[in-house]
Amino acid sequence: MNTEMLAMILAGGQGTRLGKLTRFTAKPAVPFGGRYRIIDFALSNCSNSGVNTVGVVTQYQPLELNAHIQNGASWGLAEKNAGVTVLQPYASSEGEKWFQGTAHAIYQNIAYIDLYSPKYVLILSGDHIYKMDYEAMLAYHKAQHASLTVGVLPVSMDEAPRFGIMNTDETNRIVQFEEKPKHPKSNLASMGIYIFNWAPLKKLLMDSYSTDGRMEDFGHDVIPAYLNRNEPTYAYAFHGYWKDVGTIKSLWQANMEFLEPDNPLDIDDRNWRIYSRNDALPPMFITETAKVHRSMVVDGCYVAGEVDHSVLSQNVKIGTGSVIKDSMIMPNAVIGKNVTIDHAIVGERAIIGDGGQVIGSDDDIAVVGFQEVLGRMEEDK
């Protein structure tokens, strides 16, 4: 087997900042935009970029993520000598292997990567919403004769202190990396997307673990080492829509932005589709008592109430007299009658009983957790 570039999606995070939404699932399996889960974006980008061998590294509550990914066929990634492999911790004759950081997770999966003898390894995060052509980034990587290319996003100088910032020379070569600099010298924020030449990265990791200098994290350990050793390390600027949805606030915001008709994510673009697993669901049913505006609705929804500026996911039920406003409702949630939901995220399989109220604000998004039950339903045939 021989694959030019293999992708490793780091989907291991527990996503504690997403609180109740990730108590029983890994962050990349969190629903987004009515029809998707967060990891669909990275997987679809891989598929559309012709990267058809993908390892998904996870160690936290993998059941739903596994059931979602299956063999990768939903993203066109189930080919012979390629495909999606979910990589979990395992025991070897040297002992049990947990992942201690981004770079350590790659180190622990060297045997998997070597199965495909890739020339390049693309490192991705499983919790970003964006559309990006990794093939174009690889072409850039080759043109620069780089050993490492880092995907960067130009941000405003105001925001720059919140990010890892890459300072580059006039050829885009990275000369310095600063984690959350108080006085940033550049506005190029690391997206956590890397293309490495596999051979030198593998050597670096193996050397580091055979000595004391363990490289656990790409940002903290590996990039500084590359700069130190004067490895050709370049920045590749991405200019499209990109959102880290690692917090309740940013997840809510990204869903609200998704509702904008001119959202730069352009989900309808048939030349860069976002794929997802498809369930067998009936079409959406909008009853005689419904009102739906400025909203996204999908298969399996049953809407008898009012939905305004909100995202409804698959199989959501909204009872009569209820009002859903500026909210994101996750799959299989059931909202009773005369419920008010405003500035909220309602988790998968949650149940909001009749007359319930879930009201947040711009600064404090209300959250109902996975399978959480609030109040009770009236008897109803």
Binding site: G33, G34, R35, L259, P261, I267, D268, R273, I274, Y275, S276, N278, A280, P282, P283, M284, F285, I286, T287, E288, T289, A290, K291, V292, H293, R294, S295, M296, V297, V298, D299, V307, V311, L312
Partner: protein, 389 residues
């Protein structure tokens, strides 16, 4: 091995002339239904839900749409190593005075049945839209005395189409004859008549023997006719199906069955029961309801863009309803586009139709206007032209 307990034969050679122009390029079996499905999804899902993994599809003349839809059969778990979809080419126009063709006709069925290694075979078409529990039918059959079972439904006399074929039932609920509905006696208990759903279950070896016998006789009788004769001579056990069912045989019945799905009870009975209806999957974005969207009492597929008013209608995927447009009591198939301020009432738009701004099309529920696939009507003059042709 459970997989080979039953196999299924789906015969898509069903009368379609009264459904033109919707059946110009497709058989009844691939007519779009209820915003998301094709009619053949119902028999395919019924057999899938019953654990059947081997199906023979007897193709109609326009087989492209069938093959495009079913493909490997994966959506219905019909692509496993122990089963599969086996399709048989259209044969109806061959010359059946030629003994070679007669022989081949039966060979197609026999080859499939023998290869299936199944004990029972379920035979169905696609035009009787229903959600049948095939395992319940099997259990009924196993507990019944006669070698073949036939499915019927009880239709209130007032609702029965006079030409639809029904069963004359004997004392033990066995089939002793056929008659068009209007000739059948009403069952006094509930004022209904038993109408055939053209679905049968029998032992595979029994059907193999029947087909071999006819094949060797040199006579030519098509399978539907053969079963027709057989269920009377063998006094088939009559199995009553009690769920929602519609027989799609003309534009009016097709229109009505779609409108039926806007009734919540029918919708749940057919589409949201324990036995899910599976269909070919499509990756579409969610449907967007614009600020001025005004949708009531309707079914919608994904990928839509709704800016206008929609009332009591069935919209398939990727439909656009522009600002100010009104769509009422209509069926709008995939990728159709309705322009600004257009007014549609009782219209059936096949796939990829375009209705321009301000165009008015007003049918009636007993005679809906039908736009054939890909029809483009840019202004009212064009509309008049289409309506008169």
């Amino acid at each position: 091995m459970r997989e080979s307990e039953m196999c299924a034969v789906i015969d898509l050679n069903e009368p379609s002339q009264d459904l033109a122009p919707l059946t110009n390029e497709r058989p009844v079996g691939t007519m779009p239904f209820a915003g998301r499905y094709r009619l053949v999804d119902f028999p395919l899902s019924a057999i899938s839900n019953a654990g059947i993994r081997t199906a023979g599809i007897f193709l109609p003349r326009s087989s492209r749409s069938v093959e495009d839809h079913i493909r490997s059969g994966q959506a219905w778990d019909l692509d496993t190593i122990t089963g599969g979809v086996f399709s048989f080419p259209y044969v109806a126009t061959r010359d059946y005075s030629d003994p070679v063709n007669i022989h081949r006709y039966y060979d197609n069925y026999l080859t499939f049945l023998i290869k299936s290694k199944s004990r029972y075979v379920f035979i169905t078409g696609a035009r009787n839209v229903s959600n049948l529990d095939v395992n319940a039918l099997l259990q009924f059959h196993q507990a019944s005395p006669n070698p073949i079972s036939a499915v019927y439904r009880s239709v209130p006399t007032t609702m029965a189409d006079p030409d639809q074929e029904g069963f004359v039932l004997g004392e033990d609920n066995e089939v002793i004859g056929f008659a068009p509905s209007h000739e059948l006696p009403e069952r006094t208990s509930d004022h209904t008549k038993p109408i055939s759903m053209q679905m049968y279950l029998t032992r595979t070896d029994y059907l193999i023997e029947l087909l071999s016998r006819v094949q060797n006789s040199g006579e030519f009788t098509r399978l539907p006719q053969l079963l027709h004769e057989e269920i009377v001579s063998a006094q088939a056990n009559a199995f009553e199906y009690t769920g929602y069912c519609a027989t799609i045989h003309d534009i009016q019945s097709y229109y009505q069955a779609n409108m039926d799905m806007l009734n919540e009870e029918n919708f749940h009975a057919l589409l949201f029961s324990q036995r899910a209806i599976f269909t070919k999957n499509k990756n579409e974005a969610p449907t967007y309801f614009a600020p001025e969207a005004d949708v009531l009492g309707s079914l919608l597929g994904t990928g839509g863009q709704i800016e206008g008013q929609v009332r009591h209608s069935v919209l398939f995927r990727n439909v656009t309803v522009e600002d100010g447009a009104h769509v009422a009591d209509s069926i709008v198939m995939q990728s159709s586009h309705i322009g600004k301020n257009a007014m549609l009432s009782c219209v059936i738009m096949d796939k990829g139709c375009i209705v321009g701004p301000n165009v008015k099309l007003q049918g009636t529920s007993s005679a809906p206007i039908v736009l054939a696939k890909g029809t483009t009507i840019l202004d009212q003059a064009a509309a008049e032209e289409v309506l008169q042709s």
